[in-house]
Amino acid sequence: MTLKKNNPNINKKKNKLPFKERFRKNAIVYLFLFPILIHFAIFQVFPFLFSFVLTFMDWKIIGNHEWVGLKHWMHFFQDKLAWKALWNTFMFSVYYIVPTMALGLILALIINSGVRFAGFFKGIFFLPVVTSFVIIAGLWGWLFRGTESGLINWIIGFFGIEPQLFLSDSSQALIVLAGLSILKVAGSTMIYYFAGLQSIPKELYEAAKIDGASKSKIFWKITFPLLKPIHFYVAIITTIGSFQIFDSAYLLTGGGPNYATTTIVFYLYQQGFTNLNLSYAAVLSYALFFIILIVSLIQRKYIGKDTAIY
């Protein structure tokens, strides 16, 4: 921060230097920044704007493009399936966000509790984070086979529970997909919570112990409230992540049964790349964008200062 205060002065001085001298000090800016900005314009800015224009057109892969005004937007507001997809995505978030945070926190508490081989366990819990969805979903699908030969059905059989259909049952499929995401992502929320736990001053715990507070009281009165910025941050990133869920629905259920796992991104994919209705898919992608934007703005408002981006 102190650096920035000096910047204007440095700038003024530099502008008076001869070109050769300025080039010697700033060659890297001239050489690399301009190509990168062009790349940025082509692959980020232009698609973003073009996508918005697309929503007002009928874009066909082959043939002429027509302007259709608000047709696709009007259709979106009447499209029951689009709203179902949004609802499914919302329900997925409900099943996914709190358990992911809770499991991440529990794992962080475990590795922070002074157990032996903490690094080893941390690695094991983190492993699913770096593994591709395709691998994990493949295994998940076999674990949750909806027949008696499925391992999960075999396990719940011990508790006297009838075999479940899981992915073929429209009331269970979304929960099974959420379970997959929870186990896959908990390792990364664990890392955030672990960092948070380590930043809590040890003296607080010692003082509480002297006062004779119980372990659960220490957790609920000290640890949990002091992790507040991390709860908030983790909530935001898991929310954004949950709205973008696609891989497991594509891999395991294909959006079914009876559209029960058609999430907004899956629906967008289907509309755009199966039905080749690219313009309508662009409308759906903007709907997704607005939702994420709102979530991000809430983040900026409440914890923007903590993240130190701006």
């Binding site: 530099k14 010697r24 000090k25 700033n26 060659a27 890297i28 800016v29 050489l31 690399f32 920044l33 990168i36 790349h39 940025f40 980020q44 698609p47 973003f48 073009f50 996508s51 697309l54 892969i61 157990v115 690695g123 094991i124 983190f126 492993l127 770096v130 591709s132 969805f133 395709v134 691998i135 994990i136 979903a137 493949g138 295994l139 998940w140 699908g141 076999w142 030969s149 499925g150 186990l183 890392i191 955030y192 910025p229 941050y233 990133i237 709205f243 696609f246 891989d247 594509y250 891999l251 994919y269 755009g272 790349f273 690219l278 662009a282 992608s285 993240t307 130190a308 981006i309 701006y310």
Partner: protein
């Protein structure tokens, strides 16, 4: 006694995280072609490498691995290099518009890639990039997140070395390679590992840009095998093969992953 129970529970928890990987590994050693009626069908009675041999002979699977290597290795090295330079530029250089450009970069991070994929598909169809490596390499040559990470890192490092080098007459390209790059190696490693994971594991983009079987990366290829009854052993062997690079990177660079996750979120 309490301690024993605690460790027992911990081992059960860790085991349940590892179980899917165990099923993958053991299942890959079992040749099965019949219907799977037993929940423990994945435990091989006589382990064999038949599934792996099948994959190596098959050709198309090795092609998928090769495709994944191409669309991963090039972006990884390019990201490490370019993000290091850009992070340096945004951390240490003075030029007009610096703050504005960086602010625009950070704003663009909020745009989900699912929004960009539709216009990109139309663009790449025009460029004739569909079913070519270009579609998955060129847009990934650098990344905003990587620039952000390197910038954060370099802002915490004093300017003394740089200024001493200027006085000695070095130009800034030399300074970058001789001073800045060696200094920022840990964060550059983080950028590389992140880039590896996101490219190697990506399903959504190649699913759309690669429609010919021979151009699939291993994620899309495996997805196309998924759910075909009876192919379990081969599917698991394929999964294991595609997991080996991830696992090696994870084993050697785990620290950079976790540090990167922390840096990207909390300062």
């Amino acid at each position: 006694m309490k301690k024993i129970i605690k460790y027992l529970l911990l081992f059960i928890l860790a085991f349940s995280f590892l179980l899917p990987f165990l099923i993958m590994l053991l299942g890959s050693l079992k040749e099965i072609e019949y219907a799977l009626l037993d929940p423990f069908f994945w435990i091989p009675e006589d382990p064999s490498l038949g599934n792996y041999l099948y994959i190596f002979r098959d050709g198309v699977f090795m092609r998928w691995i090769f495709n994944s290597v191409v669309i991963t290795v090039i972006p990884v090295f390019s990201q490490m290099f370019l993000c290091a330079i850009l992070g340096y530029i945004f951390a240490k250089k003075q030029f007009p518009g610096r703050e504005t450009i960086f602010w625009v970069f950070m704003a663009v991070i909020m745009i989900p890639q699912q929004l960009l994929i539709i216009p990109k598909y139309i663009m790449f169809a025009q460029f004739e990039w569909i079913n070519t490596y270009w579609a998955l390499i060129v847009p990934e040559l650098w990344g905003i997140m990587g620039v952000f990470l390197v910038r954060q890192f370099l802002q915490g490092i004093p300017n003394d070395f740089e200024e001493a080098a200027y006085i000695d007459g070095a130009n800034d390209v030399q300074i970058f390679f001789k001073i800045i790059l060696p200094l920022s190696l840990p964060v550059v490693a983080t950028v590389g590992t992140f880039s590896f994971i996101s490219n190697w594991n990506d399903l959504f983009q190649p699913l759309i840009f690669m429609t010919q079987e021979k151009m699939y990366p291993v994620t899309v290829g495996l997805a196309s095998l998924l759910g075909k009854e009876g192919n379990f052993g081969i599917e698991m062997a394929g999964s294991t093969l595609s997991f080996i690079p991830t696992f090696l990177i994870f084993l050697f660079f785990q620290r950079y992953f976790t540090e990167g996750i922390q840096m990207s979120g909390l300062k």
